[in-house]
Amino acid sequence: MPILSRSDAEDVLYREARILDERRYRDWLEMLADDATYWIPCNGEGSDPNREISLVFDDLKRLRDRVERLESGLAHAQSPPSATRRLISNVHIDDASDNAAAIWSGFILYELRHGRERVFAGRYEHRLQLVEGQWKIRRKKVVLVNNDEVIDNLTFIV
């Protein structure tokens, strides 16, 4: 019965960070479980997305649409695209049971687009599930430090 170790967790997070920084969105979709959600709360911690608006609350279908748009050449807010580099640290395993785990991590994300530099910081909360021998992302929650502030453009994948 595989239990996720911190080193396993870091492998997943680092691989995801690299894929996203390289804008390999199809590869990222491959990392997701079929029932995955990608959630970026707005106005704070995010308690109940069914009662409060989120910046993003995507299921896999919506994520596929999002990726399709990003790759269409017509996503003007990503033309030119954001160049990003994210550093992930402070990784904790919050909960690990057979075949499932919850990971907490901190990140700093540097973004450069159209000559404008921006820095985002926050934390990731990943829930992973072992599917056919691979750790897949079932839920990715991104709590941005500035999610209650004006954000001009968050159209890249955080």
Partner: protein, 440 residues
């Protein structure tokens, strides 16, 4: 020395000068003559549910507090201690029966009256604290829960100001079988490096969607995307309307049954048959069949209320001027009172899909505002052309000027009002009468 800007020459019937987006002098005049002299939208009364609830905001660029006093009335106070100028409230939202300036401890109640002065005996006998109440908006009025204020007392009543726009506000509010929406589901906030007018123009621009939002519509699914794009083609059956006083609308009331579904879906998302049926039943019970059909058929509106409110989809959108080339935009998504939860969840999901900083559509609009701000720095090309459709407008029975949905009728409506407020009356030629075209 710079020659004096002649505002009446910069904003003409079918074109506007690039200077109105770039010149700080004009921005300062806009704050004075538009935002500080007339009705501006502040928020929705459901944001202040309980006595003491407040939110801070700006009127033009001036800091203010909108709060509900102990009698339940909404007060709009200027956020400036009458002692030495500090703001008295720093939180964006909260609940407090008083506002205390922490510089020297002066304290005000929710009506703005000065109720506490530390070591008051240090002031002479002639000191009258009643003269030190916080400044207040001269007028505060509501319509269907929308709160507006005017710093100038001498303005018409809000209901008169809204005029023909009220019909469309009613349609938006009447999507609730109780006739009420709530704006308590949080707030999207984005901004851009460009003038505030770009957002107000764009919110009622039916010419841009098929280009700016093509990728979104296509990813919506081929059938649905094609139908939504059909609303904004050259042969669309939909209208744009100048509702007077600077207000305007893209009226997407569907004139044939075939087109109805995708518009409703965009607004409410998909819901189960049972909650959909329960909703329609409660609507019919409240409004009757004819009015229910009217409300649901017209449910996807883009309505602009001059100068700073847009009602689009499920949201109340407030355009906030920061500087001549910086703007913030707040979106208040609304939920419907008296409907199955599932419908409100679908509204939130539908809104997120397109709007906000990470949405699939609105950031592409914002990108265009940034691009316009950059492009308008070219000197020699002085004008932005707003003539589209002027030859085919007509007036309807309500007195609205009606254009095609892709026409620039709403933008001309905006600038007609802008001219009326900004320019000295003496400098203005009488408005060119609209050609007498019979109502359709």
């Amino acid at each position: 020395m710079k020659s004096k800007l002649k505002l009446e020459e910069l904003v003409q019937d079918t074109r506007v000068s690039r200077k109105i987006y770039l010149e700080n002098e004009i921005f300062m005049l806009e704050m004075e003559r538009i935002f500080e002299s007339n009705w501006v939208f502040l928020g929705h009364e459901s944001e202040l549910a309980a006595p003491g609830d407040f939110k801070t905001l700006t009127i033009g660029t001036q800091p203010a507090i909108m709060t509900r006093d102990e009698h339940g009335d909404i007060q709009v106070l200027m956020n400036r201690c009458m002692h030495r100028g500090s703001t008295v409230c720093q939180q964006e939202r909260g609940n407090s029966p008083t506002f205390r300036c922490w510089y020297h401890g002066w304290t005000y109640n929710s009506k703005g009256e000065l109720i506490g002065v530390p070591y008051a005996d240090g002031y002479g006998a002639g000191f009258d604290r009643r003269k030190f109440s916080l400044l207040k908006a001269a007028r505060v009025e509501k319509y269907r829960g929308l709160v507006f204020a005017s710093l100038e007392a001498d303005v018409e009543r809000l209901t008169e100001y809204l005029g023909n726009a009220k019909y469309y506000i009613d349609l938006f509010m009447d999507l609730s079988p109780l006739g009420e929406v709530e704006a308590r589901a949080g707030e999207h906030k984005y901004g851009y490096d460009g003038n505030w007018k770009f957002q107000q123009e764009n919110g009622v621009d039916g010419y841009h969607p098929n280009f700016v939002h093509q990728a979104y519509f296509e990813a919506q699914g081929k059938e649905l995307g094609r139908k939504v794009m059909g609303l904004f083609t050259g042969n669309s059956e939909c209208d744009s309307k100048d509702l007077a006083n600077g207000h305007s609308i893209l009226d997407m009331t569907i004139k044939n049954r075939h087109g109805t579904r995708p518009v409703r879906n965009m607004l409410r998302g998909s819901t189960s048959q049972s909650s959909g049926a329960a909703y329609v039943a409660s609507m019919t019970q409240r409004y009757g069949e004819a009015r229910t059909a009217e409300i649901l058929g017209a449910s996807n509106v883009n309505l602009a209320i001059f100068p700073n409110l847009l009602i689009i989809g499920i949201q109340l959108r407030k355009t906030i001027p920061v500087s001549v080339t910086r703007t913030a935009v707040h979106l208040l998504p609304t939920t419907l009172k008296g409907v199955p939860d599932e419908i409100n969840v679908a509204r939130l999901r539908a809104h997120e899909s397109f709007y906000g900083s990470a949405g699939g559509g609105a950031p592409d609009d914002v990108e265009m505002f940034n691009r316009c701000s950059e492009g308008l720095r070219v000197k020699g090309a002085e004008w932005l052309e707003l003539s589209r459709g002027i030859e085919r407008e007509h007036r309807d029975e309500e007195g609205n000027i009606v254009g095609h949905i892709t026409d620039e009728t709403p933008q001309r409506a905006f600038y007609r009002r802008w001219r009326a407020l900004m320019c000295d009356a003496a400098a203005l030629q009488p408005a060119k009468p609209l050609r007498a075209v019979p109502s359709l």
